[in-house]
């Protein structure tokens, strides 16, 4: 299976490892990620205003590219996934936005939300299957107690994201089991890390990060995993105390599949 792949701006820079491990693991698990040529930044936040059109165009261009190839569109970054999936929903279901966007791109075939948008974790769960991953694990992460940090963007609003139960998700816990480790469920796993507030309001972000870390440690987690570079940054850098170590889920997948050293080299 070959997917159109939208890496996003951060995966080309500060979150390179999230990208490298994702590509290598895809290969090991038997699916291809074909990077969309000349993709543009998704904008990192979904434009909530009903009258914003220009800020949705980069997502539509990526979606159209995937449609032309007849491929589903895969992202790894939570923010890219959130933005592109919601814009796709607008193109499928909000007539005013669809009409304005298509009028703007008037020289091309109209786009009506045909492309299917998948997060990498959804490919693991729904296409590859966690049982199949388990069989391919050569280095099970036995004895490691790992907390899933979902954050906001994968889950909410659930009516559009349709990723998992927004209040009691299980996909990352199932992933953790598949790679041989023990998932630790803790109350704050789907609470916000502070997001973009950490640029100008470090104390507010610190307060939120501390609550997440305390909650995970209290339930016995020894480490956390995430799919979002901004969550990663806040959790690692913006708490007031020494928190739990945080890694990208793709890095642990590579470790379990026994390809981590190969990727690093």
């Amino acid at each position: 299976m070959t997917y159109s792949y939208f890496p996003g701006c951060t995966l080309k820079n500060k979150a390179k490892d999230l990208d490298f491990y994702a590509r290598a693991c895809a290969k090991a698990l038997g699916f291809q990620l074909e990077e969309i040529p000349e993709w543009q930044c998704c904008g990192a936040v979904y434009p909530l205003a009903s009258d914003e059109i220009a800020t949705k165009l980069s997502s539509v261009r990526a979606l159209k590219d995937a449609k032309a190839k007849g491929q589903d569109l895969v992202t790894v970054c939570s923010a890219c996934h959130h933005v592109i999936k919601r814009v796709n929903d607008d193109m499928a279901n909000v007539e005013e936005i669809r009409t304005k966007v298509n009028n703007y791109m008037s020289d091309e075939e109209p786009y009506n939300g045909e492309t299917k948008v998948l997060h990498y974790l959804e490919v693991l769960r729904d296409v590859v299957g966690f049982d199949a991953i388990k069989e391919k694990v050569v280095n099970p992460l036995k004895g490691r107690k790992i907390g899933a940090y979902y954050g906001c963007m994968l889950l909410r609003p659930s009516v559009t994201m349709q990723f998992d139960d927004p209040e009691n998700p299980s996909i990352i816990e199932d992933f953790i089991r598949a790679i041989g480790a023990e998932p630790v469920v803790y109350p704050m796993r789907n609470e916000c890390c502070g997001g973009y507030i950490s640029l100008k309001d470090k104390p507010m972000a610190a307060n939120m990060v501390d609550q997440i870390m305390d909650s995970a440690a209290w339930k016995g987690a020894q480490e956390l995993i995430t799919a979002c570079p901004l969550c990663m940054y806040n959790l690692r850098n913006n708490g007031t105390k020494e928190g739990l170590p945080v890694t990208y889920f793709t890095e642990l997948l590579a470790e379990a599949l026994g390809i981590k050293e190969e990727v690093q080299a």
Binding site: G8, C9, T10, N13, K14, A15, C41, G43, A44, V45, Y46, P47, L48, A49, S50, D51, T55, C77, A79, C152, L155, R156, P157, S158, P166, E167, E191, C192, G194, G195, Y196, I197, S198, L199, K200, D201, M204, M208, C228, P229, L230, M232, Y233, R236, N237
Partner: protein, 129 residues
Amino acid sequence: MSADAKLAQQIREISGVDTRKCMKCGRCSASCPAYNEMDIRPHQFVSYVQNGNVEALMNSKSIWKCLSCFACVERCPRDVKPAKVIEAVRLSVIRQRGENFLSPDEIPALLDDETPQQLLASAYRKYRK
């Protein structure tokens, strides 16, 4: 239509929110992780717009505290979407008054070695036009 009523109508249009749907249960504010940082809370945004008092919202610091985490949207039993109201007020301030919350001159001092591009892109999208 009075100036206040016009502003309220504009917020309804930008947000697409029907403020009359609110049944004032307060679940949005109870869910909000930025509640303690806000001078006007999410449930109040909805009722202020309903009552035509948008000016107070435009002067509120809450518009720079909302995280767009969508907890209020997810948990609202009436599907009012308070986050969209807050976004519409914030955008009105930026569009009408040209008041940007982030200046490019500030950026160098705010960066560290780990700052992800995602943080700059999202802050720019939220804080200025």
